[in-house]
């Protein structure tokens, strides 16, 4: 499907557009439900009033407590969804998500390290997290580079780094103060607990700054699934494109990790589900973002209410869904690699 805007023409996949619309509606409904449900139930009418800024007796509960937490969930989920999509595209492997190949672990190691050295500000931690994520990704990239970027080597080295960096985090946890360690532990499961407008603004600015890069990536990733020779024949410098896509993905994953902790499996799940829904050759970024946001917000809704009054970290929920999927992916990969991997 072709969209025309002035002299510009844009290619839009019809099915992807329909799926994106449906996901947006689903997400909106989930958001309203998220704001209604809690210790005290608030009617959808009141929730919408609060969102529109009209006076309401539920202003405090909805507007101050639930809304900012939900917005953080939306942004974090969308960032993870896009990050996973980009990194999976470059690695040509559904396993290659930032939480599997060491990027989240790098972000965690630096963040937990900083926590044990007394940094507790939620406005500083996301930036440190980005530094950690980029460092980890850079190391993986350098070690995986042998005159070119080989996808399987990239994933395997990433998994190796993930394990090593997790140990570093553990080291910080055992060395650090026990209260800090407990706080860090909760952060590491991935939690939206206690997140508010401060986190929204940090995250929001970073994500806003990334919008042009993501728009570029949406088109650039079209050629990323090809081999180097074919891409060059089409006039695309694939090495640069891949590097660019990885950098965008890493920044998104790291800033999300820095805000909510490594909410596991969102970046792994969202892109693959999105792709199965749209049946497109490349992973649809918008659908992936919407799905990521849905998984986190819906997950956090369940996490808040499931064992009420105890609030679970959302990462526990996403892990409960994601871990079986990961196992399925690995089992299927072993049996199906000859048919799927041969031509891919």
């Amino acid at each position: 499907m072709v969209l025309r805007a002035g002299r510009g023409t844009f290619l839009v996949h019809r099915r992807a557009a329909v799926v994106a619309g449906a996901l947006a509606v689903l997400l909106a409904v989930t958001c309203v439900a998220y704001l209604c449900v809690g210790e005290n139930f608030v009617s959808p009418g009141e929730v919408i009033k609060v969102i529109l800024g009209q006076p309401s007796p539920d202003e405090l509960v909805v507007g101050t407590l639930r809304l900012p937490r939900m917005v953080v969930g939306l942004l974090v989920g969308a960032a993870f969804g896009v990050a996973g999509a980009l990194i999976q595209t470059v690695a040509r492997n559904p396993l290659a998500s930032p939480d599997i190949i060491g990027i989240s672990q790098g972000a965690s190691a630096v963040t937990v390290g900083a926590m044990t050295f007394g940094v507790s500000s939620y406005t500083v931690l996301p930036y440190l997290s980005v530094v950690g994520g980029i460092l980890a990704a850079g190391l993986v990239y350098v070690f995986a580079w042998r005159g070119g970027l080989h996808a399987t080597r990239f994933v395997l080295i990433g998994i190796g780094f993930a394990i090593a960096l997790r140990s570093v985090t553990q080291l910080f946890l055992t060395k650090g103060d026990y209260l800090v360690a407990q706080q860090a532990q909760i952060w590491m499961t991935g939690s939206l607990n206690g997140r508010g407008w401060n986190e929204v603004s940090v995250l929001g600015w970073v994500l806003l700054a990334m919008v042009p890069a993501v728009l570029w990536a949406a088109r650039a990733q079209r050629t990323a699934g090809m081999d180097d020779d074919t891409a060059i024949a089409l006039g695309v410098r694939l090495g640069r494109v891949r590097l660019g896509l990885v950098v965008v993905g890493v920044v998104l994953a790291s800033v999300a990790t820095g805000t909510a902790g490594p909410v596991d499996f969102v970046a792994l799940l969202a892109p693959q589900i999105a792709r199965r829904m749209t049946r497109t050759a490349q992973i649809p970024l918008l659908c992936s973002a919407l799905l990521g946001a849905f998984i986190v917000v819906f997950g956090d809704l369940l996490a808040r209410r499931l064992l009420s009054p105890t609030e679970l970290p959302v990462g526990v929920l996403t892990a409960a869904v994601g871990a079986p999927y990961l196992i399925w992916l690995l089992v299927r990969g072993r049996t199906g690699s000859s048919s799927g991997g041969g031509t891919a």
Binding site: R7, T9, M226, D227, D229, I232, G235, V236, A281, A344
Partner: protein
């Protein structure tokens, strides 16, 4: 006339020199076929002509300008290239893959034009893959897939087309089909084609200009009828053979010498 030429071209992988001081002028509007034994540097030469490999020495010139000085997208508007084993994005449809051939003619704000539409449907028609448009490339047969890749290269609408062993992995009927298509394109659209082929007889049948290489050098070049002789086959491939006129086309046909047989038979 030749738009594409190699001047003193030296190519190497790491420290191993594969092609040395090669001079080659690709005749415009003709089908040039490069042949030679395994590891003679024919595919390496083709890769360099398509800027997939940087020369160690010398240069490849497009319209007199060194390839290294032309932006890769600009080159892609003039030279189409089909690598030996191209990789398609997973689960991509035929129509989508052929459409990727339009990449060098597009930009971020100009993602699809009428020219794109026309080039893609034209390319699919010519290669007879229009009926497969919505199928996934993964599930096609080898012959179909090769036609789809050629369609992508055609959709690029370049005057020059480089093909690296386009018939490998194909059975004989599909080989002939692909080569006929190449010839037809050359004839009807005046496209310049350079192909690397394994089969000397096919090369002699389809080439207007044959280039025989051995150990990184051009041993002979010219029209197949003029250069394919028993001596050349012996020199290039180290094979004793008889060269007779092809009963169908009259082009030289290489028939290898007596096969090994058990003594006393």
């Amino acid at each position: 006339m030749s738009r594409l030429a190699a001047r003193g071209l030296t190519l190497a992988y790491d420290d191993r020199v594969v092609v040395e001081e090669l001079e080659l002028a690709v005749p415009d509007g003709q089908v040039t076929v490069i042949v030679g034994p395994n590891a003679c540097g024919k595919s390496t030469t083709l890769r360099a002509l398509g800027r997939l490999l940087k020369p160690r020495g010398g240069a490849v010139l497009l319209d007199g300008v060194e390839l290294a000085r032309i932006p890769t997208k600009k080159i892609a508007q003039a030279i189409g290239l089909l690598p030996q084993s191209p990789v398609a994005p997973e689960a991509i449809t035929v129509a989508d893959l052929v459409a990727r051939g339009r990449q060098p003619h597009q930009s971020w704000w100009q993602q699809w034009s009428e020219a794109d539409e026309k080039a893609v449907s034209d390319a699919m028609e010519r290669t007879d893959v229009a009926s497969l448009a919505e199928r996934s490339v993964d599930e096609l047969s080898g012959g179909q897939r090769q036609r789809v890749w050629i369609a992508m290269a055609l959709a690029q609408e370049t005057d020059l087309l480089l093909l690296d062993e386009p018939t490998t992995f194909l059975d004989i009927a599909h080989q002939v089909e692909v080569l006929d298509l190449v010839r037809q394109l050359n004839h009807e659209r005046g496209r310049t084609v350079v192909a690397v082929l394994h089969d000397l007889n096919q090369a002699a049948r389809y080439a207007d200009h044959l280039v025989a290489m051995k150990a990184g050098r051009v041993v002979a070049e010219g029209h197949p009828k003029e250069i394919v002789t028993a001596e050349l086959v012996r020199e290039v491939f180290g094979l004793e053979a008889v060269v007779v006129p092809d009963p169908v086309t009259g082009s030289p046909l290489v028939v290898p010498g007596t096969p090994w047989a058990a003594p006393g038979m």
